[in-house]
Symmetry: C2
Subunit: 462 residues, 2 copies
């Protein structure tokens, strides 16, 4: 044990592999330099190896995994992304296979199984011990993305009447098998959750007191079928380390631990980011998905929005006479629809995030509409004046006035559409993040163009 004073020992300070630019496990594997790759992996920490394998195409991940020393392989496997685990499991055979699957935590196993092809999943289940198989099957019974899928079922529970000393002895006896012993749910004879004690309180308590003395307020909990994201956000908001998970009858079935909650939130935020960008979310690592998959996640929305965008052509077509008469009108189209889209994007990303972290509720619709409209009006007034001044550089006062006036209205429209769409989406049960920048932009493009041509027709008397 040496004091970690050397700068390179700081994990947070040195990016993985950053010390030797140009060589990474991924590069070595792709170049077929397996001996060097093996040395690389031996010299690194487990998390550095995991990080590298996560970035590889599945076929390379399998090759890299085979190079690992047996005693490190399991540690690495456990921390890999599901896509990598899947690829490795699919090529594994016999005893090696069973050993790996059996030693995974039940929650990790259930999540991995949910993503495996049916044939492989059956093989995995068949290889498990009866007890492990029962745990896994129960977890697979909960809906995808529910708290039940992410919880750990291996929990140490206490009874209220126990003395502190007896409770500690019980924890010592059962603790080795549990994923955590920091949160100790208290249950009655029917395993109904009645309270929670923290290990901290148990350790610090007077040995003569009982568990009942240490129980605090009514315990927070989540039902196994409820959304894992919602439970995880609750934990983050209230600094809850592990949240008890109960079934429909109020019986304890597991704990959602802080690390599972972190994973749930990171995945949910990544999904929101993809959707906000106007793409489907893909499973797995950005560097590991193929270009074809990448394009496919984006194609659906682009084609849909291209079809909606044809409305802009229709609108412009409808006003083609005006465009032919005053060609200068066309000059400002990109500026106007572009700015409207930007105001809309600002409002929608603010509201999607505020909804996600619980700052805004669907019932705030009217209030948000007023706030965003007022903000859009303020911005529109400022930008409108700027646009009139700038417009005079290219054209006459009449067109410039039409541009400024249109910009004012388009900003109001953009802020309003961007601000309320996520709330309306949530109200009708759609993920607010689907009201993405591209969607808002497209809607504002079409309506903004209508506004522009109507205002221009009125101002120019066309």
């Amino acid at each position: 044990m040496t004091p970690p004073t050397a700068p390179t020992a700081s994990a947070a300070a040195t990016p993985p592999g950053g010390g030797k630019p140009g060589t990474s496990l991924r590069d070595l594997i792709e170049q077929g330099a397996f001996a060097t790759a093996q040395d690389w992996a031996r010299e690194r920490q487990v998390w550095e190896v995991v990080d590298e394998i996560d970035r590889m195409r599945p076929v390379d991940a399998v090759a890299a995994f085979r190079l690992l020393d047996a005693d490190r392989a399991f540690d690495v496997f456990e921390d890999l992304e599901p896509a990598g685990q899947r690829a490795i499991l699919e090529v594994m055979r016999g005893a090696e296979f069973s050993a790996f699957v059996d030693s995974l935590d039940p929650d990790d196993r259930a999540r991995m199984l949910g993503e495996l092809p049916a044939k492989v999943a059956r093989r995995v289940l068949a290889g498990l011990s009866p007890q492990e198989r029962a745990l896994t099957a129960t977890m697979l019974g909960y809906p995808e993305n529910s708290a039940g899928r992410f919880m750990t079922p291996e929990v140490v529970v206490l009874r209220e009447h126990l003395s502190v000393a007896a409770a500690l002895a019980h924890v010592r006896e059962r603790g080795a098998d549990a994923e955590t012993i920091y949160t100790l749910p208290i249950v009655d004879t029917q395993r109904h959750l009645t309270g929670v004690v923290e290990l901290r309180d148990l350790v610090l308590a007077d040995a003569a007191s009982t568990v009942a003395d240490l129980v605090g307020d009514a315990p927070r909990f989540v039902r196994a079928t409820e959304s894992a994201e919602r439970a995880a956000r609750l934990m983050a908001d209230e600094n809850i380390l592990d949240l008890p998970v109960i079934d429909a009858e109020g019986r304890l079935v597991g704990l959602l631990t802080f690390d599972d909650a972190d994973e749930v939130i990171e995945d949910a935020d990544s999904e929101d980011a993809s959707r906000q960008g106007g793409a489907k979310h893909w499973d797995g690592h950005y560097m590991a998905v193929s270009v074809l998959q990448l394009a496919r996640t984006r194609a659906v929305w682009l084609v849909l929005l291209l079809i909606v965008s044809l409305l802009t052509v229709t609108v412009a077509h409808h006003f083609e006479d005006a465009l032919e008469e005053v060609a200068a009108l066309a000059l400002f189209i990109p500026l106007l629809v572009g700015t409207g889209g930007k105001v809309g994007t600002q409002a929608s990303s603010a509201c999607v995030r505020a909804l996600a972290i619980g700052e805004v509720r669907p019932s705030d619709l009217a209030r948000v509409a007023v706030r965003e409209a007022a903000s859009g009006l303020l911005l529109g007034t400022g930008l409108g004046v700027l646009a009139v001044v700038a417009g005079l550089l290219f054209t006459g006062l009449d067109v410039a006035t039409a541009v400024g006036l249109s910009l004012l209205l388009i900003c109001l429209l953009g802020a309003l559409v961007g601000g309320i769409s996520p709330l309306v989406a949530r109200k009708v049960g759609i993920d607010p993040a689907l009201v993405s920048a591209p969607v808002v932009t497209t809607v504002v493009d079409v309506l903004g163009l209508v506004i522009y041509f109507l205002v221009a027709s009125a101002v120019l008397g066309l």
Copy 2:
């Protein structure tokens, strides 16, 4: 203690205040119904009250806070957002004031002080006990957003030679003052960090063993001056409950706890979301900031981008002859620049997120460029064919061909610009999230328009 079987007892299932639609603490305060508001607050859990006060304008927050029973006021205060704490502290006087400030955790206090007006901050520091003042001053010495600002300095440390029994006795003696006892750093006589033991291992260990037997790999840690976000992401990636924080000499100065890490990540992600939307991030709650503040966070980027957008007018102006000759060209401008912006937004949001969670590194620039260019080319080919077909509904084959060909190139451009800009930003030390949807859209608008007019001129022989 009753089993929580009634559906309304489920914290995650019932949104705060959701049981009684139409009434919320915020509404009651705004209506001046203080007696009803007091009853409301008495009947609710602390976190529900906090949630409501966070949503209020500062002046209302102070009024609501004054209604709370004395024994709950502190619990509520502790969990409020800094903006609300600030508002309340500014109107508080004398002993009440000192009591509040003294009983805050040092890390919460340091962060709050960092945001207070200098006059109030001095008053706060003056009111502290000498020991608390020293702790707070040390933390204020670390840069904003550094791990030092977020850590808890009150930590129970162990020495390697201790027996497990002695170590547990030490934890019992010192634990009450510490924010956590789950992570127990091990230090030498100079307080250099040499290892970490988890309380779990200590509790489960054989009483005859020593602390040295329980110490695992070289401990992960972060320097106090390093980025809190980076440290928090490391904790999330590696399921670290509490991360030791050391000074420049490798001496332990505190622990970054899981709840502080959650807060750091939530704030960083909210900031990314604002920036991705093309707005500055504001401090505080969406519902609590004024419309003027909201507009101000957005105005800077809008004005900047409006000025850049004038380039689109310049470009169109340059090709005004072509537009006058073939007015049909104008019809497709919103569709073309709009689609380019969308492809760019998809690519940039994917890469900003992948950078934030560490899936992509700045050194991946060339690889990302190739991936995004290939994906843009694929998407552009598909959309280009669609655009030719759709274009024929409105115009002749020559213009439709120009539109399709332009769209192909614009998609390639959009994906490339959107994909590599965040990496370039990180390389030159700018927050990648500032390469937002609006910024990418504006750049692609200008370049896309140039492409369109050049392609159209070539195809139509203008």
